[in-house]
């Protein structure tokens, strides 16, 4: 393959990019056996802390549990602060527009009337929830927690360019790995954090709690917030428990909740207690057996009615899936212009919608060069990576595509950027992506960086943990030393977090656009 490559660390065979110089100097001094020992130590700690995920229908070597570790790589993914600053502006802009879009879809539908998005694209979308028509939610915010997947690929000049690959507006996960990866790095290599000005991320649970509390029904003075989990056998259970604990709120299951007199209560040792805000990590379909999947035991019967009456808040709202579908994705740049009157800051990947005849024709003719995705697929399943597929696989996909063209989109195969990563044979470049977590409450905010996922298989572009992906710590690195004039000293809250806490993550946080 002669496609151009872009490596985050190495500009070419002999030189390292400026923002990796300090790290590279340090890495060159580390004996291989020490790094090997650190890898083993990290694995042992992750195991003991129980930072694991469950793979459905999977077994350990000893045939017992099905809890697996997500491989953690020791080499951080570093982003210079000026790149992050513009990415952050783009994220605020994009998520603001997406929230405006969802509100519009469930109210006046101006964007359809304006002819920008065909009506059937929305109404025939399985994620469109007619139950939400005309329902007002606090602050008109629907997607309170958004995971925006960003990749980088070289342009014609060989410079890395960021693209949004996907918006995740339902129940995006992975933020606990972002936090635990940082904790692990600071534990294994504290000296790195005194040598480098890495923006801290540990205040994420604080921002999340603040966002959730802001979304309480208007009349609630002291809102009771809970995290709703499908239970301990869910693949993201660790994260649900982790976030509930970090925020100091109850972790509830469907069986702990009930509806009475149009309010939601939880069963406690001292009788029923009212619940005001539910950070739900259960999909729409399972939230309320009376409204959606009747056999679901993961939700709470009657929840939808209480929600529609405004007596409880759900984060994210019901029906956000209408905006994160792959068939809606191509319209996001138009949404930004339509709702905000601004030029999109973040690029979309060029996308062929197979529902259109011309796009379908092009896709069929170029299957071996394209990535084709199911519109409703997730987790890296239901997709074809043309250049990495056999003839037979391509022909299979061609048949599926012809049978249901509107179920697919196609994109050029991006040469995802790589980052040096520990593998069996030593250090080798592996493809990565980035998922920042954007919080939308009274304002749109985020902690610097996000979760970097890495495809550990040589040449693989699939970074999902369910398919053998790993994670890396993500550093947003200040370019120049910050003058220490003393006046900007930070409250004691962050002083215990790290030696770099005085760098102030807050200074770079965007407000409302």
């Amino acid at each position: 393959m002669s496609r151009p490559m872009f490596d985050e660390m190495n500009a070419n065979a002999t030189s390292v990019r400026a923002h990796y110089e300090s790290y590279q100097r340090w890495l060159a001094l580390q004996p291989a056996d020490v790094m090997q020992a650190r890898r083993a130590e990290a694995e042992m700690i992750f195991r003991r802390v129980g930072i694991t995920f469950a793979v459905y229908g999977d077994k350990d070597e000893d045939g017992a549990g099905s809890e697996r570790l997500i491989p953690f790589d020791l080499i951080p993914r570093i982003i210079p602060a000026h790149e992050w600053a513009s990415m952050e502006k783009g994220l605020v802009q994009r998520v603001t527009a997406l929230n405006r879009f969802i509100h519009d879809v469930y109210h006046d539908q101006e964007i359809i009337k304006a002819g920008l998005i065909p009506a059937e694209q929305i109404f025939q979308n399985a994620q469109f929830r007619p139950e939400m028509m005309g329902v007002d939610v606090p602050g008109n915010i629907y997607s309170h927690i958004s995971g925006i997947d960003i990749v980088r690929a070289p342009n014609a000049q060989g410079e890395g360019e960021y693209y949004v690959l996907e918006d995740n507006l339902r129940v995006p996960s992975g933020v606990s790995y972002m936090l635990e990866d940082r904790k692990m790095m600071m534990r294994l290599f504290p000296e790195l954090f005194s040598q480098n000005r890495v923006a801290p991320v540990a205040h994420y649970p604080d921002l999340l709690l603040e966002t959730l509390r802001q979304m309480a029904p208007p009349a609630t003075a002291e809102p009771t917030v809970v995290v709703l989990t499908p239970g301990m056998y869910n693949s993201a259970y660790f994260e649900h428990a982790f976030l509930a604990q970090q925020m100091g709120v109850e972790l509830v299951e469907g069986q702990d909740l009930f509806v009475k007199d149009n309010f939601v209560y939880m069963r406690t040792t001292r009788g029923p207690k009212r619940v005001d805000v539910i950070y739900r990590r259960v999909d729409d379909d399972y939230l309320d057996p009376l409204a959606f999947q009747p056999k679901s035991t993961l939700g709470c019967a009657g929840l939808l009615n209480v929600y529609r009456s405004g007596n409880v808040s759900l984060c994210n709202a019901i029906g956000t899936g209408v905006a994160d579908d792959k068939s809606i994705y191509p319209y996001v740049p138009k949404m930004i212009e339509f709702y905000l009157g601004e030029k999109p800051i973040l690029k979309n990947v060029p996308t062929y919608m197979c529902r259109n005849d011309d796009d379908l024709k092009y896709t069929l003719a170029n299957l071996k060069d394209l990535v084709v995705k199911e519109v409703h697929g997730a987790g890296g399943y239901g997709m074809l990576v043309g250049p990495a597929s056999t003839k037979a696989e391509i022909e299979d996909f061609r048949r599926a595509l012809l049978a249901n063209p509107s179920g697919y989109i196609a994109q050029p195969t991006l040469s995802l950027s790589t980052c040096p990563t520990y593998v069996e044979s030593g250090i080798a470049p592996r493809h990565i992506d980035l998922r920042p977590f954007v919080l939308s409450g009274k304002e749109v905010q985020m902690v610097p960086g996000g979760l970097t996922r890495v495809a550990l298989k040589d040449g693989s572009l699939v970074v999902n943990s369910s398919q053998g992906g790993g994670t890396k710590d993500t550093w947003i690195l200040e370019d120049a030393p910050v003058p220490t004039n003393g006046s900007g000293a930070h409250p004691s809250k962050s002083q215990s977090q790290s030696s770099s806490a005085s760098l102030s993550p807050l200074a770079t946080l965007g407000g409302n656009v």
């Binding site: 129980g50 428990a241 972790l251 069963r267 040792t269």
Partner: protein
């Protein structure tokens, strides 16, 4: 402060399973140590049989092995590492950890990691070849005891003393009351049947037998300190049943159950509180000669029933409320 009923349920059972694993290890350890003494085949058999009946496992054991021929190796295997036996040490530790995992957010990081680490290590030690355990069972039992000590210690040392804490403590002491009562019952019964008359040889056996019971509840040195006397069965019974300052005695346990229960309910009508209070008062105002006169076995059987009732009441009142 209130908490989810389901959370309280998990916490209560987490500590019950941990305590059960510890007591099983204690009983197995004592039997194993005693079996190293010279003794007749019948006495040895009776001891292992007694162990199975303490845990009400005779039928399950008989179904798996040849019921009439009780073999120490089989009993140990069954009680330690048989994952199909819900009372085995590995099952108890697994259940404790699963309960902890279900509510890890309500535990401090240290408490959770202690539970998880115990589980990971027991799996490593017992699954597969398990050479460690076979070579030195005593060391394994010691390890189980110390993990339980650690679990209680880290709870006391790190948890906020809110409802979660009280349900954890209640689970520990209700389980311990149950386990001590079973141990005393079976061991006294064994002595009554094994020792008809009294002669030099048997008196010697007697000493080892009673000191084994005491050691199984870490009570040998305590006995000496409290009574400054030779080992006498009625004093052993008094120590394990009625001494309020003995941490594994029935009264000691009931005192703890009561004080933690009082912290989670303010309802004077609470049926759980009434039953627990009544049982505690009965112990508090009993004398050992009265108990022995009416029959120890009958007394302990009734005690176990009442502890069982209290457990059921806790469940009904706090843990799985049926309606609201």
């Amino acid at each position: 402060m209130t908490m989810l009923s389901r959370t309280a349920d998990h916490l209560f059972w987490m500590s019950r399973y941990t305590e059960r694993a510890e007591n099983t290890a204690r009983m197995l350890d004592v039997n194993y140590q005693t079996s190293l003494l010279p003794q007749s085949n019948e006495v040895a058999q009776a001891a292992w049989q007694g162990l199975l009946s303490i845990s009400e496992l005779k039928p399950a054991y008989a179904a798996k092995y040849d019921g009439d021929n009780i073999n120490p190796t089989d009993v140990m295997d069954f009680m330690v590492r048989d994952e199909k036996n819900p009372s085995s040490i590995i099952s108890c530790l697994q259940n404790a950890r699963e309960n902890a995992r279900a509510v890890r957010g309500s535990l401090t990081t240290e408490v959770w990691e202690t539970q998880n680490q115990t589980y990971l290590e027991v799996i490593r030690m017992l699954r597969g070849k398990s050479a460690d355990f076979k070579r030195d069972p005593a060391q394994f039992f010691e390890w189980v005891k110390f993990r339980s000590h650690l679990s209680r210690g880290v709870t006391l040392g790190t948890m906020l003393q809110d409802e979660a804490f009280h349900f954890l403590r209640m689970g520990t002491f209700l389980e311990r009351a149950d386990n001590t009562a079973r141990l005393v019952d079976v061991k006294f019964h064994a002595v009554e049947s094994a020792l008809g008359g009294v002669n030099e040889k048997e008196q010697e056996f007697d000493f080892y037998h009673w000191s084994a019971i005491l050691r199984s509840v870490s009570g040998f040195e305590v006995y000496r300190k409290v009574y400054r006397d030779v080992i006498k069965p009625e004093l052993v019974a008094e120590l394990l049943i009625l001494r309020p300052d003995m941490p594994r005695s029935l009264l000691g346990c009931l005192n703890e159950v009561m004080s933690n229960l009082a912290m989670v309910t303010s309802d004077p009508q609470s049926e759980t509180l009434r039953r627990a209070g009544k049982l505690r008062a009965d112990l508090q105002y009993s004398r050992i000669d009265e108990i022995l006169a009416t029959g120890l076995h009958a007394f302990l059987t009734q005690f176990l029933d009442r502890v069982n009732e209290i457990g059921a009441n806790i469940s009904r009142e706090f843990l799985v409320p049926s309606t609201h």
